[in-house]
């Protein structure tokens, strides 16, 4: 029984069957990659995990509880964090403030009226944020305006913000999209380190095969909304069905 269980999920947009009978099981403390050509339904599937979309039929269970019908913030509070294709950070705020907000959310829940409380009394939060920045190698940037950082640093910050909440499942939506080679390699190293050092399950959507084969323990190939194969990385590489789906070659 995996930490994330997807059963018979269907999603239709008008005449387009975006997802058809998707079954997927992500085992705890592994890195599970979902790959597939453009329009295969990868992002649609991910959006079903976080409450942005609700499937027409089927179920999505996280740790034995259904996530369907819950709002994104409720799902996050269950222990799922998401990294977006374009880094979503609080651009108007400083890097340190960016890091403090998820820690507040973890401690205080979805809403707390701390309007007159003093930030000086929140030492534990500030310390936790500083420590996380240290781990992300961003301590020197703590007072920077986060919107003015490079794409790679924004990604690093976003991943750090997700990790600071100690999620059980981390969802990555094309974490290296639009990045320079050096930034991509840095991100891969960071993710590898996270995978090795933490008890965390990672589900990743990715186009870049270099990234996928560096990280994944298990790979699901999605084509036209249905899972084609699910296997270990070595077996995926040589699978003729996968080559066909990607390259249109006759097997």
């Amino acid at each position: 029984m995996g930490i994330l269980e997807v059963k018979n999920v269907n999603k239709r947009f008008g005449g387009l069957q975006a997802l058809g009978d998707v079954n997927l099981s992500v085992a705890e403390n592994t890195c599970h990659a979902i790959i597939g050509p453009n329009g295969a339904g990868k992002s649609t599937l991910l959006n079903c995990f976080v409450g942005k979309l609700i499937p027409d039929t089927g179920s999505v269970m996280f740790d034995g509880q259904s996530v369907l019908g819950r709002t994104p913030h409720e799902i996050n509070q269950m222990g799922i964090s998401r990294v977006f294709q374009t880094p979503e950070i609080f651009g108007d705020l400083s890097v340190l403030e960016n890091m403090m907000i998820p820690i507040f959310a973890k401690r205080d829940g979805a809403f707390r009226m701390h309007a007159i409380e003093n930030m000086h009394n929140e030492k534990e939060i500030v310390e936790a944020a500083e420590q996380m920045l240290e781990e992300m190698n961003m301590a020197d940037k703590r007072h920077m305006h986060s919107a003015s950082m490079s794409r790679g640093d924004k990604r690093r910050l976003e991943i750090g913000m997700c990790l600071s909440q100690q999620p059980r499942l981390l969802l990555l939506d094309e974490p290296t999209a639009g990045m320079a080679r050096a930034d991509t390699n840095n991100t891969i190293d960071l993710l590898k380190q996270i995978k090795d050092e933490r008890d965390i399950t990672i589900a990743i959507i990715e186009h870049d095969m270099h990234v996928v084969f560096s990280l994944a323990d298990r790979i699901t190939v999605l084509a036209q909304g249905t899972p084609l194969v699910e296997d270990d990385p070595e077996n995926i590489k040589g699978n003729p069905k996968v080559r066909e789906a990607y390259l249109g070659e006759a097997a």
Binding site: F90, G91, F104, A105, A110, R112, H114
Partner: protein
């Protein structure tokens, strides 16, 4: 001090000094001099400065922090005024219960309007708040006449019960608003040489309440809650995927700013116990938006500056007429004098809106951060010269390495 950092404490002390010494600062010209008309140190206007300051400080908590632009905040001002006047009619002429009721009722009203309006963001939110405010205005004018006294406006009468006070004074007139006996209208005049300074009880009550509101606003700005509100303005998607629910945060900010508006409305009624529907009109809502943007949205002191600026223009600039202009330009030859006065005519007196509009446009175009940004630029200009000197020294010393 008081849980503020050094910079904020300095700001609070400066604002406190400015407001408490306002009767001196706003009266720089001797009473008999030709410039006396630019004096703003009379009780009526000073009260308006601080009351609209409170209104704008509250508005800034919503608009400056969360970015939700409400076009209906005058509704809360009006609700506050009506509540306060009802308190004067039914309970007593003491201003404290009136102000408390004004804040509570406008807060409840804000919960209602905010709950519905905050389902949308951006322009739709603005339109919803505008619609609610106009609805309140029209209701106050017509259907709700038993509560609001319609077009005439709500006024005190000799028949009011005032259960804890008296319906009429011994000499048969309507009692005046007071704070445990100290009359709001009582003014002490101090003559120093050719100057006359006026110290008004009502003004000082408003000023102290404004300072408390300002202090609270600083605390809110610097609190974790304030940070969450800025996060909402910055990125709502990240906010909800971080496990935070933006809705109660925005509603709390909306209600707080509504209560600030209600407080301002209650104070207005305490200074002059009548309330009319026009206080809720959309022009009044627009005015507080102008004040906040002109001063600098999202800054602490900006809204107060903006409120002072606009109220000064409204009351002082509008009083300049052609005769005064002729007086100023009397040194010119007749033809030229008439010409200059004709050119300036549309900008003064009733045309003060034109001057204000031009100034507003200039500020928005050249100083997007409002008057505060202007101040910062000037400060940087002075500081920049000093730091340039330092960097010169630095560059001179570096080649030695």
């Amino acid at each position: 001090m008081l849980g503020l950092n050094k910079k904020d404490t300095t700001l609070l002390i400066i604002v406190a000094a400015l407001t408490l010494l306002a009767p001196f600062i706003l009266n720089p010209f001797p009473t008999e001099s030709g410039l006396a008309q630019f004096n703003a140190g009379y009780p009526d206007l000073m009260q308006r400065f601080v009351i609209f300051g409170i209104f704008a400080i509250g508005f800034n908590i919503l608009f400056g922090l969360t970015g939700y632009l409400s076009f209906g905040h005058a509704a809360f001002l009006g609700v506050g005024s009506y509540s306060a006047v009802w308190m004067f009619k039914l309970l007593s002429m003491n201003v404290i219960p009136a102000i408390i009721l004004a804040v509570i009722i406008s807060g409840l009203f804000a919960v209602l309007i905010g709950y519905v309006s905050l389902r949308r963001s951006g322009i739709y939110f603005s339109i919803l708040t505008l619609a609610f405010a106009q609805m309140s205005f029209n209701l106050a004018y017509s259907v709700l006449t038993p509560i609001t006294n319609g077009e005439t406006g709500l006024q005190l009468t000799l028949e009011d019960p005032r259960v804890l006070g008296q319906s009429a004074t011994a000499d048969g007139s309507i009692p005046v608003t007071n704070l445990f006996g100290a009359e709001m209208r009582s003014t002490y005049e101090m003559a120093v040489g050719p100057w006359a300074f006026q110290f008004n009880m009502g003004y000082y009550l408003c000023a102290i309440i404004m300072l408390v509101s300002f202090y609270l606003a600083i605390r809110i700005f610097r609190s974790p809650f304030g940070m969450m509100l800025r996060a909402i303005k910055s990125n709502q998607t990240r906010m909800s995927y971080t496990g935070l629910n933006p809705r109660p945060y925005t509603l709390a900010a909306f209600v707080i700013s509504g209560m600030y508006a209600g407080l301002a409305g209650g104070l207005m009624a305490s200074m002059d116990p009548l309330a009319g529907a026009e206080r809720m009109q959309w022009t009044a809502s627009g005015e507080v938006v102008l004040m906040t943007i002109l001063g600098g949205a999202g800054t602490l002191i900006g809204p107060v500056l903006g409120a002072g600026f606009i109220k000064y223009f409204e009351n002082i600039f509008s009083k300049i007429n052609d005769n005064i202009l002729h007086g100023w330009f009397a040194f010119m030859p007749d033809g030229l004098e008439d010409f200059v006065v004709t050119i300036l005519h549309p900008f003064i007196g009733k045309g003060w809106h034109l001057t204000l509009g031009i100034l507003f446009m200039l500020v928005v175009i050249f100083l997007p951060g409002g008057l505060v940004e202007g101040g910062q630029r000037i400060a940087r200009l002075f500081r920049g010269k000093k730091s340039d000197d330092k960097s010169d020294e630095a560059t001179q010393s570096t080649p030695a390495e």
